[in-house]
């Protein structure tokens, strides 16, 4: 419970204690606490409160810069060439500039989640009231908001309690953004520390957003068996009126469902979605359909199937209006952050807007009222559906060949392709009516459309690819377990035993966008590999969709093959981007659940715990956005390593450890206070892999932690060595660094590991009770 600004006036009061006349009492806020946990050292940390912790991490994982751009052009002195030892006009060096751009990027990401959270919170408070209880999982969840407790020292009980959390996020983000101004911060490590701070704020914002929508909108609450939802172009019934929603902010989409339900049209209209709005929509209404990740925008719109397109915010193609106009589908923009040049019709009567759309008076409108969007989109879809006749903009097979004949093989398309796909060759082949080349491109295509922009013949190359792959698109009939939200405390308790007994080798989270080097299926492959190996696998966002877009030989997706519980071999879809907070939240809860470490305002201690003990790895195989950057940063500050795909190198720097430097890996043994070797684990904090094979080997290695029991380490090593043998070849060269005692050696690999250890002059070392913080060393109580 929390109330803001209370004023009391008392004219006159006599009491045993005192006599008061004309007393005015003004109280900024009243907080009633039912929480007896003492406040930790760092509630609402400022930009520098956790700097010492960041420095500890950054001294192990020094930024390795890979300038994506050699210049700085942020002020009018520029452009400044920063190559070599050159400095910019303001004095900035290349490393500082790279970190500065990372900070900018992280600020954009965190601001996006925080503003999204603000919209959701405002909307849910307006609708359900400030006193609507925060409830992520009923009796199964004791720690309702681990990140909020940890960072702010607040235990939110109602939606209203979440407001000060967002106030704090907004305050910090303003300061963080200010850091990037010309002539502010100049040290690269200080920039990096602020990147970490931004990431932490980002996770806080995400937690608020998902807590609010899970609590208020009736989403599954920490439900391992959340229902399955249809996924894929092939699942959509194009004979019905179809509405497409794109983006991240679910209230307008939810209002469409509400309107259809209230008017008994729920079964008559297909409500389909792309990106996180669709994930959250299936949490609201499991019968809604997910088209696919962000890369499906162009192909789905051009198919002509959607009768109405509704966009909210984030990761939406900015040319959606043009594409929508091509298929004569009205576009409704619903967010102040994304107005697309459309006329604001928020205050016009719904009848008038519907009429304007149906008569074709407008091609798009801005409607900043979710409820009105729900009505207009539904009515327009129903009215337009018979008229539009699914007017698409895809060429027929014959037309493809005809157009392809214009190709001059100038290769501009291939140069423009982010994945260097053999586009020109495929187009040329199509000229002879052989569409196999184009068909083969479909799977790896990111749907960015850059090939079209580059084409001197103005060929609609993306449409050619999608048309040629028509059968593939029809076969896209998959499913996904709808986002369950939080992880139950009891699930975490249950996996404690199997983790220390070496039955669960780690936790891997596949998150983020769809900028994949080789299509969605790689995510599905990796998820399957790790689930089969009894890792706990989490998914969220576009990666959660990609994971579902593949079937095994029995025709089952990963969501049908594996349980949705947080357990060995479970595939746990937490939900949309903002649900990522439940993954970091679960790591935090481990400290509370097993060690009873106080979370309240106690970030550094808990991050030290997570870093040294919780074998979690994040994988953003198709990381594209600034949000992905801030999400990753939030994991880094907690000491959770992140692996990205090859496009992730464009985040300008990696955070790499140096296994060869023994001194870098010293930890305190909390039992004795001695500084001891903790092993190069986890070896990196942020690293890009070029192929999924390389990534899988890295994931297995990065799941190791200095506290691993011997059984746990043996299991992790067995997976690491086995994956390396399968996908790279031979036993990895660094096993001797990762074996501490003979009991760490995997039983089934004992002979080869023994031989390897002998070659490397291996010596036994002890398993510490690891910490990087000298204050965590136990006071000697033993007599």
């Amino acid at each position: 419970m929390s109330r803001k600004s209370v004023s009391v006036s008392i004219k006159e009061i006599d009491s045993d204690l005192a006599r008061f006349r004309d007393l005015n009492i003004t109280i900024g806020a009243i907080t009633r606490e039912r929480w007896d946990e003492p406040m930790g050292p760092s509630p609402f940390p400022s930009l520098t409160t956790l700097r010492p912790w960041d420095r500890l991490l950054l001294s192990r994982y020094k930024p390795f810069y890979m300038p994506f751009c050699d210049l700085c052009c942020l002020c009018t002195y520029g452009k400044c060439d920063l190559t070599g030892t050159k400095k910019g006009a303001c004095g900035i060096s290349m490393p500082a500039q790279q970190s500065r751009v990372v900070l900018l990027s992280a600020c954009i990401g965190a601001a996006t989640h925080t503003s999204h959270a603000r919209e959701i919170l405002t909307h849910t408070i307006d609708t359900f009231g400030r006193d609507c209880p925060v409830n992520p999982g009923g009796t199964a969840v004791e720690v309702e908001a681990p990140i909020t407790r940890l960072v702010c020292g607040i235990k939110p009980e109602t939606l209203g309690d979440l407001e000060p959390v967002l106030d704090y996020c907004e305050n910090q983000l303003t300061q963080l953004l200010a850091v990037t101004h010309t002539g502010q911060e100049g040290n690269s490590l200080d920039f990096e520390s602020k990147v970490f701070h931004t990431g932490m704020i980002d996770h806080l914002g995400m937690e608020v957003a998902d807590l609010a929508q899970v609590s208020a909108l009736g989403f599954p609450k920490a439900e391992p068996e959340a229902p399955l939802a249809d996924l894929g172009l092939g699942t959509i019934d194009a004979k019905k009126p179809v509405i497409l929603v794109i983006g991240h902010n679910v209230p307008p989409a939810a209002a469409i469902i509400d309107y259809l339900r209230e008017h008994d049209n729920a079964g008559d209209v297909e409500v389909t979605g792309i990106c996180c709005t669709s994930l959250d929509l299936t949490r609201y209404a499991p019968k809604a359909k997910i088209v696919g990740p962000i890369s499906w925008q162009l192909r789905y719109i051009r198919s002509g199937v959607p009768d109405v397109i509704v966009v909210d915010e984030q990761c939406i193609r900015t040319d959606t209006l043009t594409e929508a106009e091509k298929i004569h589908a009205p576009l409704i923009a619903t967010s102040e952050k994304n107005c697309l040049g459309l006329p604001d019709m928020t205050h016009e009567p719904a009848d008038a807007i519907v009429a304007a759309f149906v008569h074709g008076d407008v091609t798009g409108a801005l409607i900043l009222d979710p409820e009105k969007v729900g009505e207009v989109a539904s009515r327009v879809a129903l009215a337009l559906h018979p008229k539009r006749k699914k007017h698409g903009s895809m060429p027929t097979k014959h037309k493809i060949a005809e157009m392809a004949k214009k190709c001059t093989l100038c290769m501009q398309c291939r140069r423009a392709c982010p994945n260097d796909l053999p586009v020109a060759q495929a187009v040329k082949l199509a000229a002879s009516e052989n569409l196999s080349g184009l068909d083969e491109l479909y799977d790896d295509c990111l749907g960015c459309g850059r090939c079209e922009s580059a084409c001197k013949q103005k060929l609609p190359i993306h449409s050619l690819i999608v048309s040629a792959a028509e059968k593939q698109t029809r076969d896209e009939t998959y499913c996904l377990r709808t986002g369950r939200g939080a992880i139950q405390d009891i699930e975490i308790r249950k996996v404690g035993g199997p983790i220390v007994l070496g039955e669960i080798p780690g936790i891997v989270a596949f998150v983020g966008c769809a900028n994949y080097p080789k299509g969605s299926r790689e995510v599905a492959d990796m998820v399957t590999e790790f689930a089969k190996r009894r890792y706990i696998v989490c998914t969220s966002g576009c990666a959660a969709m990609s994971a579902g877009m593949s079937r095994n030989e029995e025709g089952k997706t990963v969501y049908e093959q594996f349980s949705g519980a947080f357990e060995a071999g479970g595939v746990v879809n937490v939900g949309s981007c903002v649900s990522n907070a439940h993954i970091s939240g679960a790591a935090i809860k481990i400290a509370s659940i097993f060690a009873k470490r106080p979370l309240r305002g106690n970030y550094e201690e808990i991050a030290d715990y997570v870093y040294n003990r919780v074998g979690a790895v994040g994988v953003a195989w198709g990381a594209m956005s600034q949000k992905a950057a801030s999400i990753a940063a939030g994991f880094w500050r907690l000491g959770i390593p992140v692996v990205v795909g090859p496009h992730g190198t464009k985040y300008r720097r990696m955070l790499l450890g140096r296994a060869d430097r023994g001194d870098d890996w010293m930890v305190y043994d909390a039992r004795s206070g001695e500084s001891v070797y903790g092993g190069p684990v986890p070896e990196h904090l942020f690293i890009a892999a070029e192929t999924k094979e390389e990534a899988m080997v890295l994931i297995a290695k990065l799941a190791m932690r200095p506290n691993d029991t011997s059984k746990g380490r043996a299991n992790k090593l067995a997976n690491y060595i086995d994956l390396h043998k399968r996908y790279v070849g031979g036993i990895p060269g660094d096993v001797y660094r990762l074996v501490r005692t003979p009991a760490d050696i995997p039983l089934t690999l004992k002979d080869e590991v023994d031989a390897h250890l002998a070659e490397h002059d291996w010596k036994e070392s002890s398993i510490p009770d690891p910490t990087l913080l000298s204050r965590m060393v136990h006071a000697k109580k033993v007599a």
Partner: protein, 467 residues
Amino acid sequence: MFENIPVEVGLVHEGERVRKNDMQVELGGPQEPEKFEIVRVRPADAVEDGKILINGPDIADMAEGKHYPLGIVVEISGARLEPDLEGVVERRIHEYCNYIEGFMHLNQRYDIWIRVSKKAFKKGLTSLRFIGEVMIDLFRKELPLIEKIQVTFIMDPAAIKPLFEEAMKTYEARDARARGLSDDDVDVFYGCALCQSFAPTHVCVITPQRYANCGAISWFDGRAAAGVDPKGPIYAIGKGTCIDPEKGEYSGVNESAKQRSMGEVSRVYLYSAFGYPHTSCGCFEGIAFYIPEVDGFGIVLRGFRDVTVNGLPFSTMADSTAGGRQVDGFHGISLEYMRSQKFMAADGGYDRVVWMPQETKERLQSFIPESVYGAIATEQDAKTLDELKVFLQSHNHPVTKRWEQDNPAGAGDMPVERQEVSVLSGRDIPFTAGGFRIILKNAKITAEKVIIQPIRPGGERHGTQKP
């Protein structure tokens, strides 16, 4: 390693399933009445090291898609091996078999169910000899206590019968020994520090009558593990002198706990939830929680999703139980400990248990004394403390006698008084100096924030228990 085995052997195959359509043959399983696997410790001269005997048709001789009986007898010898360890060694068979690609092993003892996949068969897994080789190799590597080992596979229906019957007798004798073994019968307990990787101050003490909290490690497991790797996370604890037989306090246990918990825990009562109760990490199977209003214990297992009779769900109470602390009246326990005669013996055992979920009660029926079974309420009998009191009284639960002793006026009927929360306590307001009268005129008091905090929420709960 395993160069001669035609299929892969490794951890990655552990979770593999062989479905009916992919199955070459089935060994044991629900359709075969006689199947078993057993480990026996033998004298050294009775074991021929490395020998693999196959008695009856081998995989290659079996008809595709059919099922056959199977007995697996693993005979081992070694100077430090003792029959008490047979069960522990035996459970490894399951693990090792599942490392083998295309060889699925389910269950244990007389329930084994094995399938060989067609794919593995085609790769050359045509003989149980390969399975024997893998087993022998892994047993030797993991358990150096084993000096000699031989494995026999029996598929011959005539030969299996007497061996099956003998195995059944051995299981029974083993179970009787485990049930009959009391803490007084042994000199050594075992400690487990595995969970210290997550809860650095927690240590489990494992005795014949007190399983590890996680439910995964028995005294026999502890004995085997400590024998194999004496420096490992599971280690022997000399009992030392018995300080209090009723509460289960031993000097050796205290000393060990003090060392291993770095001084956080210096005394342990093995059979009590009060005073110096055994600590918990986070993965205990259930909680025994004290209910001061009725002076008895409720029990809840972690799968129970509703709130318990005291209005709190498992997850909330677990929060008070975990983390290697000694919390009076909140006790992390394993299911197996609830089957022990020493279960909270110092506090009255089941005579002190007043509530548990129906499902748990049924599960433990044979371990709860008949005299009190009917008097223990479940969620179907009592959802609130008031209902519980009525139920206990009407069923004459043993705790009701304690009410009379403690409070002749009838404590059971007394409403539980809640402490009022006061906003302006003397401590918070500085102008309470005695002897002065403070007059404020035209005063404006502005507070940025007022925090209303109960003195110790939940704290009273712990404080009001009876020793």
